[in-house]
């Protein structure tokens, strides 16, 4: 069950709208490395595969999936860095 959130204040935003799969996972990995523990990453993407991939990636890597938001053109995913 997807969790929808609003008004999350991200520390870092990355826009990968229209970039091809699996850029959402590569960028996620790259950006999370840059963050401090506890900081929030926002990923904007139009790729619907991310609806499954991003929560699954969070579970696998031990980061917290906060939820997502939707605009007419793309999704926004929010991830809190927990794992070192």
């Amino acid at each position: 069950m997807m969790k929808f959130v609003q008004d999350v204040k991200p520390d870092v935003t990355t826009d990968i709208v229209y970039m091809m799969c699996p850029m959402h996972l590569l960028k996620l990995e790259e950006m999370i490395k840059e963050l401090d523990q506890g900081q929030i990453l926002e990923i904007m993407t139009d790729y619907d595969g991310a609806l499954e991939d991003i929560p699954a990636w969070c579970e696998k890597t031990g980061n917290e999936f906060l939820g997502m938001d939707e605009t007419p053109d793309f999704f926004k995913f929010y991830i809190r860095k927990l794992a070192r």
Binding site: V17, M19, M23, P72
Partner: protein, 399 residues
């Protein structure tokens, strides 16, 4: 017979140093840039090095350069990619009448896909007036594409002024800089454009390598879907040797640009001065504001193809802006857009010089070309009506 190549807008010869830089990537450095082992990283590093050099040539950031297989692909990518990305904000696009077919036909594709397209008129020198752009903008307009310079008539367009108008309305601007990149200074910051097309073979690089500059933060829908090459924006295993060649050619062009322009301008000016002295020969395009190695004319009462053939028989290679198809003679849309009558536009001929041309080569051209014109006019039925023709006064250079 000695050969004289005056068709550098068609393509340039590959610089020997560029070929040398490319060679290892046809041979032992054959890896796929996506591979994780040594061969892959070698190829990846080479591409990123080329990206820096190409970015340097147009004053962009390396991450803003997307490699393509040609200028035409980059033009298709820009037009379709931005129109589709912006279609929720509006479905109107402006393109000029000076554009290459890769822009015009992409615009026609957009029209078929439900977009409205306005084709911007030009003046007799082929210049797009920024005020015409302003008047053509609607609240639906999302993209403006105007070439930096026409390879057919050499006129350089006022891109910075067009961008200024566009930015008042927050509209994205693309320019096709295939004819200018590596030949005159091209600076994306100074021009202010959001997207810019370039092609390596126009500055002594290889064919099969082009690039699109996409300003950081701009979203663009891909033209080619597949893997994550070019940051997931242009799929397909990279043409590593060609990209390396483009990088080397860009590096050389950055270093030698001023010197090349200084070398080519006198060749161009000498030809223009001599030929505009021949009766009923007119310069097309702007006299001052034009590509450094570019001289284009309309020769009355003669068909362009006939001149090309007779010159080619003397080892002189040039181009005609008008394409002759089997039955119908079709005049160049660019020349017609400039108000040149279709009869006169048939007599279009373009000479474009490069670094392999010597000043003596222009002497030879000046020895041969007027004789070719005379011979063709002697057999031309149209030449009989000297003096009472219609509309022959509307070409640009006659003052």
């Amino acid at each position: 017979m000695k050969k004289y190549y005056f068709d550098h807008v068609a393509t340039n010869p590959l610089h020997p140093a560029v070929l040398e830089a490319m060679m290892p990537y046809f041979g032992e450095k054959f890896g796929n840039p996506l591979s994780v082992y040594e061969y892959g990283s070698q190829a990846k590093d080479a591409i990123e090095d080329a990206r820096e050099k190409v970015a340097g040539l147009v004053n962009a950031k390396p991450a803003e350069i997307i490699f393509t297989a040609s200028g035409a692909e980059a033009n298709n990518f820009a037009l379709r990619g931005i129109a589709l990305a912006k279609q929720n904000e509006g479905k109107h696009v402006l393109v000029s009448r000076m554009e290459h077919h890769s822009i015009l036909n992409s615009a026609r594709f957009l029209e078929k896909s439900g977009f409205a397209v306005t084709y911007l008129p030009v003046n007799k020198q082929g210049v797009v007036d920024p005020e015409t752009v302003r008047k053509s903008i609607t609240k639906e307009t999302v993209l403006i594409s105007v070439t930096h310079a026409s390879s057919e008539v050499g006129t350089i367009e006022p891109i910075r002024e067009i961008v200024k108008v566009a930015k008042e309305h927050n509209i994205i601007v693309h320019t096709d800089a295939v004819a200018t990149t590596g030949n005159i200074p091209v600076d994306v910051q100074e021009l202010g454009v959001d997207l810019l097309t370039m092609a390596a073979h126009q500055f002594y690089g290889p064919k099969g390598a082009g690039a699109l500059y996409v300003k950081q933060g701009l979203r663009i829908v891909p033209l080619i879907y597949g893997g994550i090459q070019e940051s997931g924006r242009r799929a397909g295993t990279e043409n590593v040797p060609a990209i390396v060649g483009m990088g080397k050619a860009a590096e050389m062009a950055t270093a030698e640009l001023g010197q090349r322009m200084e070398y080519l301008r006198p060749l161009r000016d000498r030809l223009i001065e001599a030929m505009t002295g021949v009766p009923n020969v007119v310069l097309t395009g702007d006299r001052q504001n034009r590509l450094p190695g570019h001289a284009s004319f309309c020769v009355e009462f003669i068909e362009g193809e006939a001149m090309l053939l007779l010159l080619a028989a003397k080892g002189i290679f040039s181009a005609s802006g008008s394409a002759c198809s089997s039955k119908a003679l079709k005049a160049s849309p660019v020349l017609l857009a400039m108000g040149i009558p279709s009869g006169l536009a048939q007599g279009s001929i373009v000479f474009s010089f490069g670094m392999g041309n010597a000043p003596e080569d222009v002497d030879n051209l000046l020895n041969e070309f007027p004789a070719v014109i005379k011979r063709l006019r002697d057999i031309s039925p149209y030449a009989q009506g000297w003096g009472d023709r219609e509309g022959g006064d509307s070409c640009t250079a006659k003052k």
